[in-house]
Assembly symmetry: C2
Homo-oligomer: 237 residues x 2
């Protein structure tokens, strides 16, 4: 016994008159709407936003449906009409936020930068807090619940962490292709280090990401990464 009031994890009454989580997204887009009062799309949005907010501030296990509906300005039945429980709501709220971030994505202007500038900027974009100031709390939550809710961990990894890292990896591969980065470098490990730097710094300082963290990280790795045909002053670039 250690389950507060949360059922083992969704998977219970699956279907009823309710929307199954798998269909939720599709259903939200194009409802056939056979008749009756239509759902208010603003309510969906308000609930998802409130969920995200509570997720970041309270964490998954402390977040309660009551708080969410209160923040969203709706009532409990309204939420349960759309989602069967906390788990499914959380998944949708995360996907919603990640969709938003992808929509706001600005590609890098690789050609206008020096290789080191491009690398540094790519490192900067790996910062989990680059687009979400509460990212450390969120990651902490899902690290903490990784054993209990592995799907949530996987979701964050595949939809948030991995894509950011892939962009860095692509940048490095591009720099390889133009001869600015060595061919025989462990790029995966480099990406892991760049991502980890934000967590290392957070754990040691507990503060917001320092302005110069990406520069220092890139500066430390660049001597190893860069092709050695060009300039070498002393330590860094």
């Amino acid at each position: 016994m250690s389950s507060r009031n949360e059922p083992a994890v969704g998977r219970k009454r699956q279907a009823q008159s309710r929307v199954r989580p798998d269909e939720a997204a599709a259903e939200r887009q194009s409802a056939p709407h056979a008749g009756g009062r239509p759902r208010d799309p603003a309510i969906e949005e308000a609930i998802l936003r409130a969920t995200r907010k509570r997720l970041a501030s309270d964490g998954y296990s402390r977040m309660t449906i009551g708080d969410v509906v209160a923040d969203a300005g709706v009532t409990r039945p309204t939420l349960y009409r759309r989602w069967p429980g906390k788990y499914e709501l959380t998944v949708d709220a995360l996907l919603y936020g990640l969709r938003e971030q992808r929509a706001a994505y600005q590609p890098m202007a690789l050609d206008a930068m020096t290789p080191l500038e491009a690398f540094t900027e790519a490192v900067r974009r790996v910062d989990p807090r680059y687009s979400n100031p509460h990212a450390m709390s969120l990651h902490g939550n899902f690290m903490a619940e990784a054993e209990r809710e592995p799907d949530l961990f996987t979701l964050i990894r595949d939809h948030a962490t991995k894509p950011r890292c892939d962009e860095l990896l692509d940048t490095l591969r591009h720099l390889q292709s133009i001869g600015a980065v060595r061919q025989d470098v462990d790029l995966d490990a480099a990406v892991t280090l760049c991502l980890g730097s934000y967590f290392g710094d957070y754990l040691l300082t507990g503060q917001d990401t320092p302005r110069d963290l990406a520069d220092r990280t890139a500066g430390l790795l660049w001597p190893t990464l860069r092709a050695d045909d060009s300039e070498q002053s002393s330590s860094d670039v």
Copy 2:
């Protein structure tokens, strides 16, 4: 309203006939014991061990006193006789575990290694899971609760994270002193990267620490760190 049943955070009835958290450690060592049946020290230990186990498996917010006493094989009043609440119990349990780890500490034999070997071994020891396989869950929990319980975050940082990093930093300084590592390197950033590598890897793979992670991390940083008077294959320094 978002507090489950947990009072704002300790600080409530502070003293009574109970032991205040500050005095708990001292009192546990040397109880004056005016008369009456003496406390069983084995119970203290059982409770602290059970707390640590629950902390790792359930996380701070899901851990309940009921589970702890059940695991420890004692009863609820027995726990409340010693600690006023969950927060104080958690602090003592963490300090207890960290004391244990320090006691089991084995210093590195720096002289018997090459500089790179020493660096790699020091990196290996920065792994949070080096001595505690549940470390990632623990760190996740306290990252998640960093805003709600900043003291717990600080405690972990000062008693677990920082000491491990300091050992790495000392190793690097030693290597500097013998001329194996450059003088003009951003050692703090290097340490941050080494620590972070374990989190980066965990977030990207979600598995146990790979055997070769320390080697890869050290391998990536070593060209930047090592003094350039000796061999330089191609890209170093």
